[in-house]
């Protein structure tokens, strides 16, 4: 009890122990649900955009409950930029790989069957999965970085 009082005495305006503890417990489940929405897009409503926004919202929630430095400990700026590039590149790279792979057509995933024989129809299903993951990565990191940059006036240090 004494320890809690000492902790709350030194905190800044807007920081609340209740909110911080709740967010700390909630964020892993939000991220798990975001992954589920991306991966389960073949069978239920969802997909890359929706799951990516859920994953990005978990970092926004961390930033709101704590501050930006705390959120950047879990997703550094460099890793965030790398992930947005990797997401966009995964999509366009898969599409281009279909085009240069033994005379296939752009975005025709069944051409990848010549690279790794799983069957052309299975490749169409798997290709959709790969591009959904790419879309999810790009949307997650870009929505988080938009919030961080607009919220901290471009300095990415203290923020809200």
């Amino acid at each position: 009890m004494r320890l809690l009082q000492d902790q709350t005495a030194g905190q800044k305006l807007g920081e609340s122990l209740i909110i911080q503890t709740a967010v700390r417990m909630l964020v892993p489940f939000i991220q798990l649900f975001g992954l589920y929405v991306i991966v389960h897009g073949h069978y239920s409503p969802g997909g890359g955009f929706q799951g990516g926004v859920i994953l990005g919202a978990s970092f926004v929630l961390l930033t709101l409950a704590f501050d930006q430095k705390f959120a950047l400990k879990y997703m550094s700026e460099k890793a965030n930029n790398m992930l947005s590039n990797a997401g966009a590149l995964l999509f366009t790279g898969t599409a281009t790989l279909c085009a240069i792979c033994y005379g296939g057509m752009f975005l025709d995933y069944s051409a990848l069957d010549k690279l790794l024989p799983l069957g052309p129809i299975a490749w169409r299903s798997f290709g959709i999965f790969v591009i959904e993951v790419g879309v999810g990565l790009a949307v997650m990191s870009i929505s988080a970085s938009l919030f961080w940059l607009l919220g901290s006036n471009g300095e990415m240090d203290e923020g809200l």
Binding site: G41, H42, Y43, S44, P45, G47, G48, F49, N81, S84, G87, A88, F91, T92, A95, L107, Y109, I121, A122, R124, S125, G127, I128, I131, E132, G134, V135, A138, V139, S141, I142, S145, L146, L149, L150, N153, G154, E155, M156, D157
Partner: protein, 97 residues
């Protein structure tokens, strides 16, 4: 001026609402959107792609260009915001050599 702007907004809204009167009824099987491609997708998409969710099949496979350039648009938005807003603090003194 404000009255003029309100008048223009109301007129545009009225014209748009008048335009919706020509829409086919909701769920009309004879509407143009449901007669050409939708029947092809509902009959063949699961067989051709093995994806039970037709929305994902259309979004990721048949309309792959659309989804790809949506991603590129979001990527360009992020790139523009990073390149315009991001500023580094002058932390270390610059070496003039």
């Amino acid at each position: 001026m404000k009255v003029l702007a309100l008048f223009a907004t109301l007129m545009t809204g009225a014209i748009l609402l008048y335009g919706t009167m020509d829409f086919p009824a909701f769920g009309d099987p004879q509407s143009p959107a449901a007669t050409h491609l939708a029947t092809y997708f509902t009959e063949n998409a699961v067989r051709e792609t093995h994806v039970p969710n037709l929305v994902t099949a259309v979004l990721g496979d048949y309309r792959g260009y659309d989804t790809m350039f949506e991603t590129v648009v979001i990527y360009c938005a992020g790139l523009a915001v990073v390149s315009v807003l991001r500023k580094k603090k002058p932390s270390a003194p610059e070496n003039k050599s």
